[in-house]
Symmetry: none
DNA sequence: TAGGTCAACATAGTTAACCTAGTTGGCTTG
DNA sequence: CAAGCCAACTAGGTTAACTATGTTGACCTA
């Protein structure tokens, strides 16, 4: 299945799955084929499939549930805002990241201290 | 180097490098240590380091040049960035938020559990 | 029947090894 | 000296095998 373009196999598979999700062939909430099935389907090794799925997972397109499977994310954000609002959304998101980072740093340092001197 | 938080090593390393870049410890244009050096530095396997670098590469934070090294991207002014890139930045920020949220949830639950039943 | 066990399957993380290919610098040879 | 070869580095792609952990269903037993 993987074509002999210069593009690495794990990206080709990630592209293909992404396409299937965007195109609706894999509906939100639907499970992807198992790693083993995908490996056979694309005639690729398990590692390659895992890398491809890992990319989609990292992109948030897909959510892996250990022991169950990998599912297409049920996203409810259908193009609500016009493109002109993208800039403000970026600012919004930056603020959220700042906030999360601070909380995380605080709580992680607390955690490491309590590990160093328990109780 | 990799701490025994629940967070996988390749993400810890990616986080650390990302931090160094954002913080200026690794200036734009500067080369990262080689894969082998990073592996020794973090006391991790080559594969893990490659995964971590692959993440940063995927995020566009870093550019790998085969045969030479991996270099911190010399970023052009964000102001001049065309609007078409805003969308991809939103995606990037979203994944960052998702990532931070997961870390936060994990570490906060760890904290509350250790309060409930201290080891 | 209710409950426990166990095998099979799933994702996820990690490691080690092998291969390709680009770059660099030093050494040899013409 | 100049050209070319070569060894030693670099990143990147691929594969296989192992561990950990979660889920499910079938089966056995009390």
């Amino acid at each position: 299945m993987v074509k002999k373009t210069g593009r690495p196999g794990y990206l080709q598979i990630a592209d293909d799955l992404r396409e299937q999700i965007r195109g609706g062939a894999l509906a939100p909430g639907a499970p992807l084929p198992s790693t083993a099935q995908l490996a056979e389907q694309y005639d690729a090794s398990l590692s390659i499939v895992k890398m491809a799925v890992g990319i989609l997972r990292n992109e948030g397109l897909v959510i892996g549930q250990q022991g169950k499977g990998v599912f297409v994310r049920e996203d409810e954000q259908p193009e609500k805002r016009p493109a002109t609002d993208l800039a403000s959304e970026v600012i919004e998101l930056r603020t959220a990241i700042q906030d999360l980072s601070e909380r995380l740093a605080r709580v992680e340092s607390t955690l490491s201290e309590s590990r160093r001197s328990p109780k």
